[in-house]
Amino acid sequence: MGRALHVAVAVALLVSCSRPASAYLKFGYEVNGTQRTLKWTTTPVRYYVTAAAVDGVSATQFQATIGKAFDAWAAVPTSSVAYQFMSFTSNLPGEDDGRTTLGFVHEPALDRVLASTSYLIDDVTGDLIEADIFFNSVFAWSVADAGDRTRWDLQSIATHEIGHLSGLGHSDIGETEQTATGRRVLSTGAVMFPIALGLGDISGRTLEADDIAGISDLYPDGTFNRSTGSLSGHVTKSGRGVYGAHIVAFDTRSGAMVGNFSLSSSGQFSIAGLRPGPYIVRVEPLDDADTESFFDITDPTDINFRAAYFGRLVVVPRGGDSGNVEVKVVAK
């Protein structure tokens, strides 16, 4: 094994722009001049659980609850990803031991971080070696079936972090408002939205259409590409491409929402994994979370425009693409 490249979610990840034809917000990294998409090349993904308990959650309860969160992703019918629990371990997440480990870690300095995922990548081969998730034991956790309004729901937070473990970035399907003390979440439309809804909320246990499209795009089963289609195009303002716009495809018949971002200077975007049919396309600036939750801080994200709808219904074909959709936005 060559020198390992240790990458944490919150820091040095770049958005992958190497596959615009079927792009979803995946993590990307560069190894030896080659852009790679962060994903497991072999499955099942084998993981270990730290044998440690916290107030309200025993090690056995932790392992069982983590298992349910993994099951949610593995149960996606259009995805081929699979996971396997290996055993308990005394090692902690974040130790470069070649094992994907999940467990509680006491991190009082990270008093706004419920949990975090980090990766270890072989910088010679570019292969993903391990991905660890720590759950901050500074917070109060619950494994109650119906949730606990005084504690954070472990299964919901684990489901989000396992999305990262699998290679998914954040989704912007959700709404927040700025308050004097920070952002307040009004609603979320995807498990992968970067900010948790609040104490006791258990809605994060259930994957939404956006999450399902993402994991299926990363790990498609045999029918996924044939049975779904994509919607692609450009977001422009005054004739110039808009980088970092959030585009949502809304299924007019089922109400499902799947989103992505314009990831180039030309404003190009592509949303894959869509059920064939007519869609409403909505474009908005990335203003419901810090842009660093989605992109590298140096990326030229443009948030100075008004949200808008594309002027016609866009039909997504089966096994194909909608054709170029140009959404023109205006400055605020």
Binding site: I173, G174, E175, V185, L186, S187, T188, G189, L197, G198, D201, I202, S203, V248, F250, D251, T252, R253, S254, G255, M257, P276, G277, P278, I280, R282, E284, R306, A307, A308, Y309, F310, G311, R312, L313, V314, V315, V316, P317, R318, G320, S322, G323
Partner: protein, 216 residues
């Protein structure tokens, strides 16, 4: 014996004089009433287990005109089997309202092509006005196909109809091959399944057919 033969001869002659036409051909226009396809809201999960709408939509298939053709085959004095087809364009539109970020309400559209092929039964009812006006009832089942613009997507389904109508019929003074001709008006109620409705949704839609017919 002679009386019986005479009576039989009279009956046969009477049968030969009435309803010798076998085939009816009709062509004209069909009007389909509007159909609400779906009311769907973009909802997100809110704290405490509630939901919050981002925006609301109502998607409809607008009223439309189709070219229509019907072939009828006489089965008995009152019963006719019918095979019909219709072709035309329509517009699917979605009305977007109540956007949480105050985007103005708007309507977005997409054109599509409709094709139907149906088979059914027509039952003649007692006629009036010297056989000039002939009412009937009908029912049938069919296959429908919706093709979006540029044939990007084709969705198929079924329809079921029931209704009735009226013939305005004229008989030639000396009928040869053409036994009768005139105008026909159908009023139908359709139950639609599949196509743009996708899945198991059912929708009701009215239709009116106005055609010219000829019987041979």
């Amino acid at each position: 014996m002679l009386c019986v033969v005479t009576c039989l001869a009279s009956t046969t002659a009477s049968a030969q004089a009435a309803s010798t036409e076998r085939i009816e051909l009709s062509g004209g226009l069909r009007w389909n009433g509007p159909v609400t396809i779906a009311d769907a809201a973009a909802t997100e999960n809110a704290p405490s287990g509630s939901t919050r709408p981002l925006f609301s939509t109502t998607t409809t298939l607008a009223r439309s005109w189709l070219a229509s053709a019907i072939i009828g085959v006489r089965l008995s004095r009152v019963l006719r089997a019918e095979f019909s087809a219709a072709y035309g364009t329509a517009t699917m539109s979605s009305r977007i309202t109540a956007d949480a970020e105050q985007i103005a309400d708007t309507t977005v559209r997409s054109p599509l092509t409709q094709i139907t092929a149906e088979a059914g039964i027509q039952v003649q009812l007692p006629s009036w006005k010297r056989h000039t006006w002939k009412p009937f009832t009908s029912a049938g089942v069919g296959y429908l196909r919706h093709m979006y613009a540029g044939r990007t997507l084709i969705e198929s389904g079924h329809d079921f109809y029931a209704g009735g109508g009226l013939y305005y019929e004229r008989t030639p003074t000396r009928p040869k091959r053409l036994k009768a001709s005139g105008l026909r008006l159908d009023l139908r109620g359709y139950l639609l399944r599949g196509g743009v409705l996708r899945g198991t949704d059912h929708r009701f839609a009215p239709a009116v057919l106005a055609t010219a017919f000829a019987r041979f």
